[in-house]
Symmetry: C2
Subunit: 358 residues, 2 copies
Amino acid sequence: MAEFSTTTVELGDRSYPIVIGSTLLGGHFELTDYVDGPDCLIVSNEKVAPHYLDALRENLGDRQIRQLVLADGEAYKTLQSAATVIDALVDARANRDTTVLALGGGVVGDIAGFAAACYMRGVNFIQVPTTLLAQVDSSVGGKTGVNHAQGKNLIGAFHQPRLVLIDTDTLRTLPERELKAGLAEVIKHGVIADAEYFAWLERNLDGLLQGEPDLLANAIRRSCEIKAAVVAADEREHGRRVLLNFGHTFGHAIENSLGYGEWLHGEAVAAGMVMAAAVSQLPPTEQQRLRDLLARAGLPVEPPGVGAERLAAAMRLDKKVKAKEVRLVLLKRLGEAYLTSDYPAATLRQVLAAADAA
Amino acid sequence: MAEFSTTTVELGDRSYPIVIGSTLLGGHFELTDYVDGPDCLIVSNEKVAPHYLDALRENLGDRQIRQLVLADGEAYKTLQSAATVIDALVDARANRDTTVLALGGGVVGDIAGFAAACYMRGVNFIQVPTTLLAQVDSSVGGKTGVNHAQGKNLIGAFHQPRLVLIDTDTLRTLPERELKAGLAEVIKHGVIADAEYFAWLERNLDGLLQGEPDLLANAIRRSCEIKAAVVAADEREHGRRVLLNFGHTFGHAIENSLGYGEWLHGEAVAAGMVMAAAVSQLPPTEQQRLRDLLARAGLPVEPPGVGAERLAAAMRLDKKVKAKEVRLVLLKRLGEAYLTSDYPAATLRQVLAAADAA
């Protein structure tokens, strides 16, 4: 048997394991334990399916398997794509005991998860994330959804998976740019919750960039532990879960202003974290440590030149806005984040001004 | 102050009141207690809005109010309509603290509730049902959703309202055909859960049909009590909530086969209940009591001539199907229902044969 580690997301009778290891899709994990009904639908995309779809099918025993291969990219994370998944379930005459499996990155997981949440008001759902970003972030915690033309993830549902299956071997085929984008969320976990983890990332970034399997498995495990603990404490984001949004108010505004898919999500979050750290008025040395680590990972540390006004407008549609006030996740120090609507307006303006075309 | 009664749906910290009375929209209820944020969206339809939209607006104090008036009818209960509601929320720059109010019948409530469930993964939602069917059934319990071309309510979410506000005065403008369709669900509550209530309905049907306010208020209250108790015991329909589906497997198949909107939902359920009672092999005298009461209410007691095969095919897409077996809610006696996949196939064939064109 292959070795794997398990982290549990503790949510009472909806608790579920995150299983992390290598060769899991090679048959070293009993996937059918999590597929009760007679049939299932695998949702993947055109990039990932050629690599792993057959392997996943072979793990599903005698189940009737349908598959749906979507176009690749954030631009397809639409209500229309979710409707296509639902159409496939209807065509299959799928019932409440069907299982939807998402094989791919965050876009595939978000679309398939939202369709699974809505079909017959919720069917069984399994995440098989194949990008670093999906493995450490979007596949864990039950947030599903699609974008609206005017804002990211504006349409969605909380729908927890029954299992998150992370085969680290899938990272071998991940394009370098996407590996780097995933590291943005890994670094975020250190920044908001664990200064020691941040320091470990500073020491081990080169090995992570080179794809060393043990280092990647360690990072995935620690990031999943941090995310699982936050989700267990606050499933529906009434409290501290919002801290996982560090860098995202800026990041989402960047993605929205550029058009989805121009920058990868992790790239936008990287620039957004630098902006949020500046608004946090962190000591210059700490701001510099964050900027350096992100830059070493090949990630952007400045917003694109979309204009400050446009960024500010996009930020007002952020889900954290309350009573029309933009609230931000800021840092007390590296390793500790908090939510506030009390920040210096002048500093924010200055930070946004970096988005004015040079 | 006007008199009103309150029935609570007990769901822990998501418990909510069903408030039933007259002149509630006339300002005799403090609606703003249930609208926390600065803005709200009223969703209604072209039939209901001219009667009650202004009155509802006047109950909302200083809130910023947007309104969206949909076309009337089950044919518009589509994902596209839900997307239109979401578009209106985006256009209003609505945030997580917004409130969606549904003013109308079951179609308006289901669409608006689903949009409220999906917008930013769930915002505050208030039901103001104006049809008898919505007042006794669809507005209570948190089931929201839209139809798929191939099946009713295949796309949806559980999203509990924070308040159900039933102003019985709204029934004065309800077309007679819709009042009768609402009585089908009222009768269903007696049939599945309370034989004494069924007998009360037999005694008082004429007055209900004549729209006597006290009788209607009594029936609404008793039906809401029955529904609230079932929902409190089984919010997500893992158990006895399914009993509320009595007559609905047949009824949905009728609606689907005829095309949505041909028959009203309550009409299809009426014919479906007679069919389900026959498959239940209830004593002929009890079957006759049910048939007589529905007929007195002007409701159909036979399926339309859409063909037995077509009805059977539509039934296989029912949400209660498990391991590809059609399960039915049947009766032990008037006042007691149960779910089973063990029923005489020959009797079912015979019952469906009534749908073969004469």
